[in-house]
């Protein structure tokens, strides 16, 4: 926990002073945090180390939108972010994604799928794109993929993640991974939470907000029904 403490200050500054956007500049980060450009750069490095940075180049950068999640949830998603930071992506040598083949191969290695495919398995909500997998043995999984014509590629759709953090409750882990990855993953997390509200209760304030949203949705439908009956 010690290592991420300074990030809380940065996250609070970002959440308070930056709008959600697909990209920012270092100047904007410096302005949002009220610090100099070199300090802002140090903050950016820290965000990168903690897995919030998607990409950066010549003073422009993109952040995972999980950076805007309630601060109380951040400690829960840090292990997922660190795993995503160390992900290794693969595709078949012939250029194809090789997802179906990899699923079969990796089943033999043992481990747990997460994100896209795992979320789809639970919710059937969003079409999956990339196969994310926590193998029991990372090195063995890499070796097996290589032996079967897979090569590492930045655009690979078969992604191996190191097992960092708690895996005792798979659904909860998929939920936190989905929050951590951000973007459409957050939609998956909400869908998972709707299906397993008890399991995802530990998300605290996030869970509270989702419950309120559910209540409003139900109440609003009730109002609409009554409205249409009286017309």
């Amino acid at each position: 926990m010690e290592a991420i403490r300074p990030t809380f200050h940065i996250l609070t500054s970002i959440q308070t002073n930056l709008p959600m956007k697909p990209a920012y500049t270092l100047d904007e980060l410096a302005h949002a945090t009220g610090r100099s450009k070199p300090t802002a750069y140090r903050y950016l490095t820290e965000l990168k180390q903690n897995g919030f940075l998607i990409t950066s180049h010549r003073g422009a950068f993109s952040l995972r939108d999980s950076v805007f999640l309630p601060i109380t949830i951040i400690p829960h998603i840090i292990p997922s972010l660190h795993a995503l930071n160390q992900a290794r992506k693969f595709r078949l040598r012939n250029g194809k994604s090789g997802i179906v083949k990899a699923m079969k191969l990796l089943r033999g290695v043992g481990g747990m799928a997460t994100l896209d495919y795992a979320a789809y398995e639970i919710t059937a909500y969003q079409t999956p794109e990339t196969f994310f997998f926590y193998p029991d043995s990372f090195e063995k999984a890499v070796r097996i993929l290589r032996e079967n014509n897979y090569v590492e590629s930045s655009k690979g759709k078969v992604v191996l993640l190191p097992r960092i953090g708690d895996f005792s409750k798979p659904v909860l882990r998929i939920f936190y991974d989905s929050l951590a990855v951000g973007g459409r993953g957050i939609l998956d997390a909400i869908a998972i939470s709707r299906k397993y509200p008890e399991t995802t209760k530990s998300s605290g304030y996030f869970d509270f907000i989702l419950n309120l949203a559910r209540k409003v949705e139900q109440d609003t439908r009730g109002v609409e029904r009554i409205g249409s009956n009286t017309r």
């Binding site: 959600m20 956007k21 697909p22 990209a23 920012y24 500049t25 998607i54 990409t55 950066s56 180049h57 010549r58 003073g59 422009a60 950068f61 993109s62 939108d65 994604s97 997802i99 179906v100 699923m103 089943r107 799928a113 896209d116 495919y117 789809y120 398995e121 059937a124 909500y125 969003q126 079409t127 999956p128 794109e129 951000g182 973007g183 459409r184 939609l187 439908r221 609409e224 029904r225 249409s228």
Partner: protein
């Protein structure tokens, strides 16, 4: 993993649905997930609802839709295609663009062999997604279709210089655009 092949076919299902909707509603221009999928090769993540902008209002007259087998949820007012996919129909404007502009600038893409559908122009789609705050889709469209983006055109349809710069910053962040 039992659903694997089914899952891989999911985006094919959406593509087929677009072709069918296009034959039923000839003036339909796909603007949401389907347009994003069309630009990103039909494998990108998406929910399976469709968004269309329609300039010829008669094409989506309620009676006509019901005749075609479309259905309306009486509680929510949401429309569903005859294959039971949710479809949002926009007639006036969408994220700052009039349906007329969207229609005039739309482009044809081949969804299946010899089956063409109309989708919102790439630059408009990027700005619509940006205005809707769908950050991930903006990043994916800029990153994957960078070389197809007409930056001059994008600047002319952006609401101000800041909006245009924000999209350019995405390209910069991904190391695609060397100068601003």
């Amino acid at each position: 993993m039992s659903k694997t092949r089914e899952e891989l076919r999911e985006s094919v299902r959406i593509r087929d649905e677009c072709v069918r909707v296009n034959s039923e509603i000839p003036s339909a221009i796909f603007v949401g997930a389907a347009a994003t999928l069309a630009y990103l090769g039909w494998t990108y993540r998406t929910t399976s609802d469709l968004d269309i902008a329609v300039e010829v209002v008669g094409d989506v007259d309620e009676d006509r839709l019901l005749e075609l087998g479309y259905s309306k949820d009486p509680q929510t007012g949401d429309w569903y295609t005859p294959r039971n996919l949710k479809i949002d129909i926009y007639k006036g404007s969408l994220n700052g663009f009039s349906v007329k502009e969207i229609a005039n600038q739309s482009v044809k893409v081949e969804a299946r062999k010899d089956k063409w559908i109309k989708v919102a122009k790439l630059e408009m789609l990027i700005l619509m997604k940006h205005r809707a705050g769908i950050v991930t889709d903006v990043q994916a469209l800029v990153r994957n279709r960078y070389s197809s983006i007409n930056w001059k055109y994008l600047e002319t349809i952006a609401k101000d210089d800041v909006e245009g710069k924000e999209i350019k910053n995405v390209a910069r962040a991904f190391g695609l655009l060397k100068q601003t």
